[in-house]
């Protein structure tokens, strides 16, 4: 009982750090969605240079640890004169990294739309780009919603990594509290529970969104 009480006791201070988590996750996801879509379009482009550039980007971002990328942005870039504050650096790192994964989601979703959809659009007088934006992408977005939701939940948890670049999010706050109270078990249990409390409703929201988007299936 005492343990539970002290866990609950740590909640308010940790909760105070959660707006930063929301800020990081939403900011990074917005960046990842836009960049991911652009990368996916580059990957299926007719122009070989675009395909190669996008592929190299994706392979580098997927092939190196997110933690290393964050450290790189925050500690290495200042060495060449690019100084970024902790929160923007976190958004940038998470966003650039998740864009690589989302580009693969978008790419396979775009390719999953039957060629007949494009052909029908072209035959009706759509230009190729209009067919892509009006007919193909809306359909592939529905297919991508599930995976995008999954990555969003994963990203919320990965915001914890930004604690190493001085973002005072939940884990960093827990570290600080732990250094004061040494109640290690209670502090980190509270932090873990808080992440769970954020993630659980998110997965509900994601499946509800998915259901709504799939009315036509």
């Amino acid at each position: 009982m005492e343990f539970i009480q002290s866990v609950i006791g740590y909640f308010p201070r940790l909760l105070a750090a959660s707006p930063i988590v929301v800020q990081l996750a939403l900011g990074a996801m917005a960046l990842a969605l836009v960049l991911g879509l652009l990368l996916a379009l580059a990957r299926i482009s007719k122009i070989k240079a675009l395909r190669v550039i996008a592929l190299i980007y994706v392979e580098i971002m997927r092939g190196t640890p997110l933690l290393v990328q964050l450290v790189y942005i925050f500690f290495v870039l200042p060495a060449i004169g690019i100084d970024i504050d902790p929160v923007p650096a976190g958004i940038l790192g998470l966003g650039l990294n998740y864009a690589a994964y989302l580009s693969e989601v978008f790419r396979s979703a775009i390719l999953s739309v039957e060629a007949g959809q494009t052909e029908a659009a072209l035959s009706l007088g759509y230009t190729p780009s209009k067919a892509l934006w009006r007919i193909v992408l809306p359909q592939s977005f529905v297919v991508s919603l599930g995976p995008i939701g999954n990555y969003f939940i994963a990203m919320v948890k990965d915001t914890a990594l930004t604690s190493v670049i001085a973002v005072t999010e939940i884990l960093k706050t827990a570290n600080v509290i732990n250094a004061q109270t040494f109640e290690t078990t209670a502090v980190y249990t509270a932090a873990a529970l808080l992440y769970l409390l954020i993630s659980l409703p998110l997965s509900r929201i994601v499946s509800a969104l998915e259901k709504r988007a799939r009315v036509h299936v």
Binding site: A121, L122, S123, L124, H216
Partner: protein, 293 residues
């Protein structure tokens, strides 16, 4: 026929290039990429006049669907000219050579050719009404109300007004194809192209689609139809064209083609569908117009 020429196909050639790349270990052993060039169209000529219904028959691989898809440049051509209302579609001519034109120019010209596909190709995320409205709004830039009015009118024509709010997944194959026909018709094209419109349908659903096509033909719509439905071809066609191995082997009125086929391929097609009258060259006496051949 003396009326206006809508589609003119002149000496069209087309090849498909099939490349087979060796796997990495075959390449190590010195195997080269295999390139096969298949001639699908070997000099095709065809005229379609205003109000005419032209049916293209032929076995699989004869090039009939490819020819149809060349008319609106869903397939490219290697040589020859295809004119629709006097214009090249998808190309411009520079120093006697065909050069790809701007995609936006091609798109505009394509609105003049309505196409109906074997697999319907309805937009899966739109209702029946949405399917018909989308190109009116996106391509013809109509207002929502205007597009809706025209869409409803065309759904009425194909008898699906009560299904307007259904998504394609809730429509039968025949209904899907009728929506697809309404969608193409709504753009008010000068010629309708049908690419085996009933080949993907269950037998009991074929009739409803054929009936709709017949009704449209009866209104004087210019049409080019690729089909395997011989009886339907006979009923609807002003002109029947038989293709084999990339060339047109026979061309004539239904009576000429069905009653007095000149080519063995035509006879084989007729025989398979149980409609053959007599083999080529065995018509002794003159029977009506067919005898003049």
């Amino acid at each position: 026929m003396s009326s206006e020429l809508i589609v003119s196909v002149r000496q069209v050639h087309k090849t498909f290039t099939v490349r087979r790349d060796p796997s990495w270990w075959q390449r190590l052993r010195g195997q080269k990429r295999e390139v096969n060039i298949i001639e699908v169209l070997k000099g095709v000529d065809l005229d379609v006049h205003k109000g005419e219904t032209v049916v293209i028959l032929g076995s699989s691989g004869s090039g009939k669907s490819t020819l149809l898809r060349c008319l609106n440049k869903l397939e490219t051509i290697d040589d020859g000219r295809i004119l629709v209302n006097g214009h090249l579609v998808g190309y411009e001519e520079r120093a006697g050579q065909l050069v790809d034109e701007k995609a936006s120019v091609t798109a505009k010209k394509r609105t003049d050719l309505g196409m109906v596909f074997q697999q319907f190709n309805l937009f899966l995320n739109k209702t029946a009404l949405g399917n018909v409205m989308a190109p009116l709004q996106d391509v013809k830039k109509m207002s929502r109300e205007e597009a809706r009015g025209i869409a409803l009118e065309n759904l009425q024509k194909v008898g699906l007004i009560d299904r307007k709010d259904n998504y394609p997944s809730k429509l039968s194959g025949g209904q899907k194809q009728r929506v697809a026909i309404a969608r193409a018709l709504a753009m008010n094209p000068s010629v309708m192209l049908f690419d085996e419109p009933t080949s993907a349908l269950d037998p009991e659903l074929v009739e409803e689609v054929l009936a709709v096509i017949k009704a449209i033909a009866a209104q004087g719509t210019t049409m080019v139809i690729v089909t395997h439905e011989m009886q339907f071809a006979r009923d609807i066609a002003d002109k029947i064209v038989v293709m084999d191995q990339g060339v047109i082997v026979e061309e004539g009125t239904p009576d000429q083609v069905f009653f007095n086929p000149k080519h063995a391929k035509t006879y084989a097609l007729l025989k398979r569908s149980g409609l053959a009258v007599r083999p080529p060259g065995t018509l002794g006496e003159q029977i009506g117009e067919a005898g003049k051949l």
